[in-house]
């Protein structure tokens, strides 16, 4: 069947392999020659470098320069950065101290990749004053401290007296939920190019999610402006200033980002090496280095208490997350942001506590905080429903939040109940078999569901739209394409706002000299930048029509400008007369261009609350003896306001659901507790979902109108697919086996050993057998 939906604007370049990612750049693309740099990382977690022997490395033919802390440029303090990642607290190669395993200790520059890689292996680093690192929350209990902020959310929240309400509740749940650390594992490894310009500025090629935030970090580190740091950045953000400064960033498309491509260490290293080497360099990471040169999602352990009153309404939510962060950087998973806005409830208490571990700094990852939070809350909702003899879906309907429970504001739009209905119909929720019955293959059948949620925000953004004399339009907005389809969506918004066919729109996004744009982060990029384009288009049309009705020899003389509009490249009068836009523009006296700035209040001035919602339903099959689980079917219904580009939007949601499944079944980067290293630092061992793991999936968007909050009617959708599947699968596993697992991923050993509520079942007997096995004694590491 021919698919009539629009393909992506950059789609052809992707299916032909012609798309240029950073690693694909050659001197003919950049206009300058460059050498190849490769980092060397520490094999020690906590200690000091006592000696670096580069003699063998320098003898490799082709090697030109080796940078260590002894000869690296001294950088200026960076931060505080909005990304809150490591470089705000720890800059690379500034002294001999080692804070975590895998920290950069040297950069080898050669005239070719093979020589640089071979020489990097020959750099010998010796360490002294080494200490055993603390790398898990269990080891770090004495390091826990309360924090005021988590991500961009508050670290502490209270409503009523939640602890007292909990004590008085008719039904209580008091459990602890654990989420393992894991990495983004984008398939693009990581490359950056830097070249120092004659005027003392630097030209950089990188793949970042936020052009101007990336360049802010570089500018601060090298003293190239932004001396007022955040203040100066805020000015750029709020005024939408297009002035580039001396950091000239070319942002190439990201080969996957998922939160990791923000203020990256290797981008700074490229600029440092180029400065010291006296020639441009291209730094190339290895796959293993991505585990310590980029941020990741840190470990989270949360105690959750939920109280329910006799009318089956939530009376208290007490959430106490312990969040691991790294040796530097201040990013804390905002675990408490979502639960307090999800269901109606009488009281809540939230306090994040944070432990600084001897690890690489943590950072943003798709569904920051919310994916861990929803796992706990939605597992708890399922468990509480069972305690009360209620259908899990019915219990959620009873506690539906008609207004935002945290601030009491009405939702601009909310179609969660319709999502429940449509998702339930898609999977056949009402007619599902009894949990724990056997299918034709002798597997235990289980069904589970969860609510999902995404706080779409509007961030400050700006865009310049220019109508060219030939009736085409140029849209300049430094927005970052990371695979979400933002280029297609922004093209569509521009085409619709201007009344032009898509093919007449040219989008410019690559450089920091383009107008300041919001980053591709937190389900905000398309909406924030789309708003700026929309407003620029409105301003241009208003100016054009005002001029047009004064032109005596033109069709629309003395028309009311408010009756005019542009459709398919023609100006249309209230009387239906049509004149091609290019005919009119040929007479317009000067360039018709407008630079619009939007979102300065971050959408917080609105009297409405804004969020996307969804409902995930899943069916699993579990082997009764081995507890091997296969997700057979996963469906979702989502309400995300207006969908601009259906093809990439559906794709992103389905991909998010697969991420959620991966979080449930596989995703964990494991630590060696003695060495402090990530053990499974490869794509073969840090398991992510493959094609064969992916179940039969289906999704629908529930139509909704969010125009009361913004004329574009948009909300965020990048994360709403991801946050529900993990608890839905855990709940389905319970339905199948009677075993309640509260640790992600749902490891096979936990599936086997967790006792079952169904005392007479085979699953229960298997767990009892495991309980009889002797506990192995840990091997002493000498």
């Amino acid at each position: 069947m021919k698919n009539t939906k629009r393909v992506r604007v950059e789609g052809r370049s992707k299916v032909t392999g012609k798309r240029i990612y950073v690693d694909d750049l050659r001197p003919e693309d950049t206009g300058f020659d460059f050498d190849i740099a490769v980092p060397v990382t520490s094999r020690c977690a906590v200690g000091k470098i006592s000696a670096i022997d580069t003699s063998a490395a320098t003898h490799v033919p082709g090697v030109k320069f080796i940078m260590t802390y002894q000869n690296a440029p001294k950088l200026k303090k960076v931060g505080p950065l909005i990304s809150m990642v490591e470089v705000g607290g720890l800059l690379p190669l500034q002294d001999n101290r080692i804070h975590y395993f895998g920290q950069c200790v040297a950069v080898v520059v050669a005239d070719n990749l093979l020589a640089a890689q071979e020489a990097a292996r020959l750099v010998k680093v010796s360490y002294t004053d080494t200490q055993t690192p603390i790398v898990t929350l269990a080891q770090a209990q004495s390091r826990l401290r309360k924090v005021k902020r988590a991500g961009i959310a508050l670290g502490k929240l209270t409503k009523g007296d939640a602890k007292r309400e909990y004590e008085a509740a008719a039904v209580q749940l008091d459990e602890t939920y654990h989420c393992a650390p894991h990495h983004h594992n984008a398939i693009e490894i990581g490359t950056a190019i830097a070249n120092w310009d004659d005027d003392g500025g630097v030209t950089v090629y990188a793949a970042t999610q936020w052009h101007h935030l990336e360049s802010l970090g570089i500018a601060q580190a090298f003293g190239l402006g932004f001396n007022q740091q955040l203040f100066d950045f805020a000015i750029r953000m709020l005024v939408g200033r297009a002035k580039e400064g001396k950091v000239r960033l070319n942002n190439m498309m990201s080969g996957g980002a998922f939160g990791r491509n923000l203020n990256m260490i290797h981008v700074l290293l490229a600029a440092m090496a180029a400065k010291q080497h006296g020639k441009a360099v291209k730094i190339v990471l290895s796959r293993a280095q991505t585990y310590t040169m980029y941020a990741y999602r840190g470990e989270v352990n949360q105690r959750l208490r939920v109280g329910v009153d006799a009318q089956q309404h939530l009376s208290a939510i007490v959430q106490e997350p312990q969040v691991a962060i790294g040796a530097a950087g201040d990013f804390v998973e905002p675990v408490g942001e979502a639960p307090m806005q999800l269901y109606a409830h009488k009281s809540h208490f939230l306090q994040h506590r944070v432990a600084r571990l001897d690890l690489k700094g943590t950072g943003w990852m798709r569904g920051p905080g919310i994916s861990s939070a929803i796992f706990a809350v939605e597992s708890a909702m399922d468990e509480l429903a069972h305690k009360q003899g209620l259908d899990p879906l019915e219990f959620r309907r009873i506690n539906h939040a008609d207004v935002n429970p945290e601030n009491g504001k009405p939702w601009a739009s909310k179609s969660l109940l319709a999502c429940y209905d449509q998702g339930a119909t898609m999977i056949g929720w009402q007619t599902r078999p009894q949990g724990g019955s056997y299918d034709a293959q002798g597997q235990l059948i289980g069904y589970g569901m969860a609510t999902s949620f995404d706080l779409g925000r509007q961030f400050p953004a700006s865009a310049r739209v220019t109508l060219n004399p030939d009736g085409t339009a140029t849209v300049a907005v430094a927005a970052a394409e990371i695979g979400q389809g933002i280029m297609s969506a922004l093209t569509t918004i521009a085409a619709e706002s201007l009344g032009l066919p898509h093919k007449r729109i040219t989008l410019q996004t690559q450089h920091t000299k383009l107008p300041y744009a919001a980053g591709s982060i937190g389900s905000t990029g398309t909406f924030s930048n789309g708003s700026a384009i929309y407003e620029a288009a409105l301003a241009i049309k208003a100016r054009l029509f005002k001029w047009l009705v004064k032109q005596k020899d033109v069709t629309f003389y003395k028309h009311d400008p408010s009756t005019l509009h542009i459709d398919n490249g023609e100006v249309v009068g209230g009387d239906g007369q049509r004149v091609p836009l290019e005919t009119i523009l040929a007479y317009y006296p000067k360039p018709l261009s407008h630079h619009a700035k939007t979102g300065r209040t971050f959408g917080m001035g609105s009297k409405f609350a804004k969020a996307s919602f969804g409902a995930i339903f899943t069916g699993v099959a579990v082997d009764p003896l081995t507890m091997v689980m296969k997700v057979k079917r996963m469906v979702g219904a989502f309400a995300c306001g207006r969908i601009i580009e259906p093809l990439p939007a559906c794709n992103q949601i389905l991909g998010g659901m697969v991420w959620g499944m991966g979080q449930a079944l596989f995703e964990e980067t494991r630590l060696d507790p003695n060495e402090g290293s990530w053990v499974n630092d490869s794509l073969a061992e840090a398991l992510v979902s493959t094609n064969a793991d992916t179940p039969e999936m289906d999704m629908v968007f529930v139509e909704e109108d969010d125009t009361v909050a913004h004329p574009l009617g948009m909300k965020g959708l990048a994360e709403v697919g991801l946050v529900g599947p993990a608890p839905a699968i855990a709940n389905a596993f319970y339905d199948a086996t009677g075993k309640r697992l509260r640790k992600l991923p749902l490891l096979l050993e936990d599936r086997l050993t967790t006792p079952s509520d169904r005392k007479d079942s085979l699953a229960s007997a298997v767990a009892a057998e495991f309980a009889r096995l002797p506990v192995p004694t840990p091997v002493e590491v000498v």
Binding site: G17, N185, G255, Q484, G655, L683
Partner: protein, 162 residues
């Protein structure tokens, strides 16, 4: 050492570093950048190319050991004329960031050629050596299915051979 390669039907005689993988040869020496490096260890499939029509992970193949005609993503279409598998990926949005896409398409063509695209389950299994972290798997399978449905076995064989 000197070695002659046939890559996308063009002969190249090159002075070869014996450490060089086929992937690095393609990317660094021949500027065929459409074949991507995702791991350099044979884990992700982004570097999949064909040697005599069979899929090979070019990062695991030392260039010196290449024995046969190499086809890369640049070799399956000419100018503006897409290979029907590329067309299917485009229309079905069988990608997001696009970084793994060259490998997915090369693998998909071979997967059909190997006779492994008979059922959805078979396609999923045969395509599981190609990771897509954006997880566009549903659309990738839809693209391959539509390619198979739009082409008779004979047409498929001809396209794959050409």
């Amino acid at each position: 050492m000197k070695k002659t390669f046939v890559i996308n039907q063009t002969e190249h005689t090159l002075e070869l570093d014996p450490r060089m993988t086929l992937l690095d040869l393609l990317r660094e020496d021949l500027n065929l950048i459409g074949t991507r490096k995702g791991c350099d260890f044979g884990h992700c499939g982004a570097c999949t190319v064909h040697i005599d029509g069979k899929r090979v992970l070019s990062c695991l193949k030392l260039a010196a050991t290449v024995d046969g005609e190499v086809t890369t993503i640049e070799g399956i279409s000419q100018d503006s004329h897409l290979h029907p598998m590329q067309e299917a990926f485009l229309v079905h949005d069988g990608y997001q960031c696009g970084y793994c896409t060259s490998g997915q398409i090369m693998s998909a063509i071979a997967c059909v050629n190997e006779g492994k695209a008979t059922t959805r389950e078979d396609i999923k299994e045969a395509m599981s050596g190609n990771l897509c972290r954006c997880s566009a798997y549903t659309n990738i399978v839809a693209a391959i299915e539509s390619y198979c449905n739009n082409h008779t076995d004979k047409q498929v064989a001809e396209q794959v051979a050409s």
